[in-house]
């Protein structure tokens, strides 16, 4: 472990200074130099890193403090900002990077997760980076705003400016002497107590806030176009077809409240059943949309289902019917096995690995059944009911030298274990680690690239460095208190993540959401789609060498955050949707802000077309690169812009409308080649469509309630409380435990920023989910990278990664 830094009281410090005026002067000079030329390490773990990166851009501009020189290697950096969640799988790597930094080096712990684990008291998260590394400054927040990050950096600068460090490593005592850093909470207490008028978080002007509410607009009803989703005509019922093919007695039908046809088949016949659904029907279910499992052993309300200890759930999607079908397989025993379906769909391989990793359910005939999210050597399978959920229920995380060496040795890639050759025809392959700490992977993704010269022979993705155990967390939280965790699943999508979860809860509880709440939700989702696409736009351009666009795009993202902050009070993770509606009504002045944004944004997009899309270098780097066909996309479960770039106009907002999207008039942009350039074209066109939807929200925002009056809606209505002791108790229980959602199962998928995001929720008549399966788009997208990247060059790999647009928390959950 690194030596702890001794600190001196001010008197002792003064004594040290007096000892040698000359040396002190020289040391002052050096400290001044260090203070004013801090080079941060471009090191990010999760959401916090996006706010840290935002501090580099124009509204905040960290260059004012001489700290904008972000280094890509620990050898050149002075200050390591541990921005985000420290995962157990990632912790040895964080320590390795810290040890590889040169002296002098400082550490800032940014965000609640790095400080203490924050809201993630979960098996996969280290409860604070200071468990294995010294920390100089802690910045609270989840995530801290860029301003908070800059204040932390300034505090560190001031500390560094008063430090005494030995001039040489060969002379005199070692170790740095510094003043004790005071806690900012104490330092600011008096000033904060004096504040009586709080700043408005919403940027709505004071005049607007004081003005009387505007009379309700008259043009509020009857919007717009109602576009019916295309239907698949008279497609035969999938369950009837299954019963006909496999025998009626072997297929058991389950009624679900989401209306998705659900059939139970035996493990022996599952491959036949899926084969039939995939290719033996008119309008077949060609996409393996999701594959997961349920640990049924503790579940009480399942009388209508066959006995089962572990249930496999296969969910297929038909793009012609715009419909899902669900096939379930009952397995009994502590560690049962089922036949693998990896030969039917290429993405089944990785989904089966996930089921093995999380549940300990084996798959016969799987080519490579090994852990995918948890680190090698993990004991147990986290989503089994007996596995502890909290990190604080387990042994505290420690990283002594022997465990550190062992962990690093486990991380070292062994080509033979993956069936990869070390060379061919007398040449050697190079095995290069791209990530987990690499600017091109946009997060903690590790790709092991097998290279012949510069050409990619094969890629082995290693994920799970960002596994925050969200599905296990859902089993512990109440229905209401899980909402903030959904924000952090796809951390660029903000409240859009709340939507599929809440739609599924509302389906289970039978809650009708009022039209105003639906439209507010749509408006915020589209704002966040724009914000997420802007981050993608800038970083993608940066990946292929255009360094300046990202600064413009982050500026526009800040303008969007100005609006969302006025409405929700939050930036990246507002957690603002509620069961049955939203948390509050729109503030006065929201329409002025949105109108102003909609007025200027089209010009900006036109400028970005000139800056990026029509840039010849950008086109040369992306046209034709990383292409895949429509069939490949469907086989791999690709959704969202990646699917539409292959020419298939499939958008869940249109094909399976939710939250009132059927009332909006917008187009579905498509590409033709399915290459990196077309994926970019589709996203850019989508941003314009989002602006169209926002214009319609502005023109036709319905009047009425912003949340449902259903008794299961949260938070419970206050007016119903203070009548008698019964209403008080009911209110108290609805606030503390939250609603008890009736037993049942429901899945809802939406068109999120990266593709289709869906929640499959199971209620066991409880105050929280019995099981929550989160189907995220980035998981199949990232695990498809080897298939896309083979035969391209290393430089193309970064263009491919940028064009896929993934977020690591959306991959690992």
């Amino acid at each position: 472990m690194p030596p702890t830094i001794p600190s001196l009281a001010p008197e002792a410090m003064a004594e040290t200074v007096r000892r040698s005026v000359l040396v002190a002067r020289l040391q002052d000079l050096l400290a001044w130099g260090r203070k004013n030329s801090m080079w941060p390490y471009g090191f990010g773990l999760s959401c916090c890193f996006v706010e840290m990166a935002t501090s580099l851009t124009s509204k905040f501009d960290i260059a004012r403090f001489g700290a904008e020189v972000i280094r890509g290697s620990p050898r050149q950096a002075d200050v390591m900002i541990v921005a985000g969640t420290v995962f157990r799988k990632m912790a040895p790597i964080v320590r390795e990077l810290y040890e590889q930094m040169m002296e002098p080096r400082w550490v800032i712990s940014m965000g609640s997760c790095a400080n203490s684990g924050g809201m993630y008291d979960i098996y996969s998260v280290v409860q604070g980076v200071d468990k294995f590394m010294p920390v100089d400054v802690y910045i609270p927040g989840c995530p801290p705003r860029p301003d908070a990050f800059m204040e932390g950096l300034l505090l560190l600068r001031n500390a560094v400016g008063s430090e005494r460090r030995p001039l040489s490593w060969v002379v005199g005592p070692q170790g740095a002497y510094r003043l004790e850093l005071p806690a900012q909470r104490e330092a600011k207490r008096v000033a904060r107590q004096r504040v009586t008028t709080l700043a408005r978080p919403d940027a709505v002007s004071a005049a607007e806030a004081e003005a009387p509410p505007a009379p309700p607009s008259t043009a509020v009803t009857a919007p717009r176009v109602t576009v019916a989703p295309p239907r698949a005509g008279e497609a035969p019922d999938p369950i009837a077809a299954l019963q006909e093919a496999l025998g009626a007695e072997t297929v058991q039908v389950q009624a679900t409240c989401d209306g998705i046809p659900t059939a139970w088949v035996s493990a022996a016949r599952v491959a036949d059943a899926l084969q039939l659904l995939k290719s033996g029907l008119p309008a077949p279910y060609r996409m393996l949309y999701d594959l997961s499992a349920i640990d049924e052993r503790w579940r009480r309300n399942r009388a209508d289902q066959p006995p089962s200890d572990f249930t496999l759930v296969y969910q297929l999607l038909s793009l012609e019917r715009n419909a899902y079908v669900r096939v379930k397989v009952a397995l009994t025993g502590e560690h049962p096995t089922a036949p693998s379906i990896a030969r039917l769909w290429p993405n089944a391989n990785v989904y089966e690995r996930e089921v093995w990793d999380m549940f300990g359910v084996g798959f016969d005939g799987h080519p490579c059944l090994r852990r995918i999210l948890m680190p090698e050597g993990w004991v147990g399978h986290p989503l089994r009911k007996e596995h502890p959920a909290r990190a604080t229920e387990m042994e505290p995380y420690r990283l002594p030298d022997d465990l550190f060496d062992e962990a690093l040795e486990r991380l070292r890639f062994k080509p033979e274990a993956w069936g990869l050759k070390r060379g061919r025809d007398g040449t050697d392959f190079m095995f290069l680690n791209i990530g987990p700490q690499h600017p091109g992977t946009h997060g903690v993704l590790r790709l092991i690239v097998q290279l012949d010269g510069e050409e990619i022979v094969d890629v082995v993705p290693d994920i799970g460095f960002h596994h925050r155990g969200a599905e296990k967390m859902a089993e512990r939280q109440s229905w209401h208190t899980f909402i903030p965790y959904t924000d952090r699943i796809e951390y660029l999508g903000g409240v859009m993540n709340n939507l599929p979860y809440l739609l599924a809860v509302e389906k289970l509880a039978g809650i009708e959401v009022p039209p105003r709440a639906q439209t507010i939700r749509v408006m915020l989702c589209e704002l966040f789609r724009l914000a997420s696409h802007l981050v993608w736009y800038g970083t993608f351009a940066q990946d292929v060498g255009a360094l300046s666009p990202v600064f413009y795009m982050f500026t526009d993202r800040e303008r969007i955050f100005g609006i969302t902050e006025a409405i929700t009070g939050g930036r990246m993770h507002p957690s603002w949707f509620r069961i049955g509606g939203v948390a509050a009504d729109l503030p006065r002045g929201w329409d002025r802000m949105l109108r102003e944004f909609l007025r200027t944004m089209p010009q900006r997009l036109a400028e970005y077309d000139r800056l990026v899309m029509r840039n010849r270098i950008f086109q040369a780097r992306t046209r034709g690169v990383g292409d895949y066909t429509r069939d490949e996309a469907i086989d791999w479960g690709v959704t969202g812009p990646g699917l539409r770039a292959c020419g298939l106009a499939w958008d869940a907002r249109r094909r399976m409308p939710y939250s009132g999207y059927e009332q909006f008039d917008f187009e579905i942009p498509t590409g033709t080649h399915g290459d990196a350039y077309d994926r970019a074209v589709v996203r850019v066109a989508e941003m314009r469509q989002s602006l169209r939807i926002l214009e319609q929200c502005l023109a036709w925002m319905p009047e009425g309630a912003y949340t449902s009056s259903h008794p299961h809606a949260t938070p419970p209505v206050r007016e119903r409380m203070l009548h008698d002791i019964e209403t008080l108790i009911t209110h108290f229980l609805s606030v503390s435990w939250g609603p008890v959602i009736p037993a049942g199962e429901a899945f809802v998928g939406i068109e999120a920023t990266k593709g289709n995001n869906g929640y499959y929720l199971i209620s066991d008549d409880g105050t929280g989910a019995y099981r929550a399966r989160i189907r995220t788009p980035s998981f199949p997208h990232v695990l498809m990278v080897p298939h896309i990247a083979r035969g391209w060059m290393v430089a193309d790999l970064l263009a491919i990664l940028g064009s896929i647009d993934f977020v690591l928390s959306d991959v690992d959950r």
Binding site: P2, S73, P74, R75, I93, V94, E96, L97, E99, Q100, E103, P104, R165, P166, L167, S168, W169, V170, Q174, D401, F404, D405, L408, E409, L411, R412, F413, K414, P415, R422, G423, G426, T427, D428, F429, M430, F431, L432, N433, I434, G435, P436, Q437, H438, R446, D452, G453, E454, E455, I456, G624, V625, D627, R790, G791, W792, M793, D796
Partner: protein
């Protein structure tokens, strides 16, 4: 030419350079703090211990590119020598130089045609060929 210029300024200059470099390397060796922890001196590879060595046997096409570079570099050296003596060698020398350059150009055209200069990704090449075949 009456006697060579004195050598001592050059020697002084060389000594000055050596002293300065020795001071810079020596001072930066002694100054500052250092630490040596478990993986401080392991090569940095995105935070993961590396596999194998950096001394690889690379594919022959890199050798080919390197040797082409050397050939055309040497050509420049030879032509430079000829350019210095261009007036003395006259038209005969010019013709010889021309033949030399033309020979190299023919070789270059041959290499170009046979695909020796292609270093792009095989996947892109495959697709381009397929597209060409489709166009025909």
């Amino acid at each position: 030419m009456n006697g060579s210029p004195p050598l001592w300024p050059l020697a002084l200059y060389a000594a000055g350079v050596l002293a300065l470099v020795a001071f810079m390397i020596g001072a930066s060796h002694v100054l500052g703090q250092r630490h040596r922890e478990r993986v401080t001196h392991v090569p940095y590879e995105s935070g993961i211990p590396p596999v194998g060595t950096a001394r690889l046997r690379l594919a022959a096409r890199y050798y080919l590119l390197a040797i082409l570079f050397v050939v055309f570099d040497l050509e420049a050296v030879l032509l430079m020598g000829w350019a210095v003596a261009a007036r003395e060698t006259g038209w005969a020398g010019f013709a010889a130089a021309l033949v030399f350059v033309l020979l190299l150009l023919v070789a270059l055209a041959y290499l170009w045609r046979s695909g020796a200069l292609e270093a792009g990704p095989s996947r892109g090449r495959r697709r381009d060929r397929a597209r060409d075949a489709g166009a025909r």
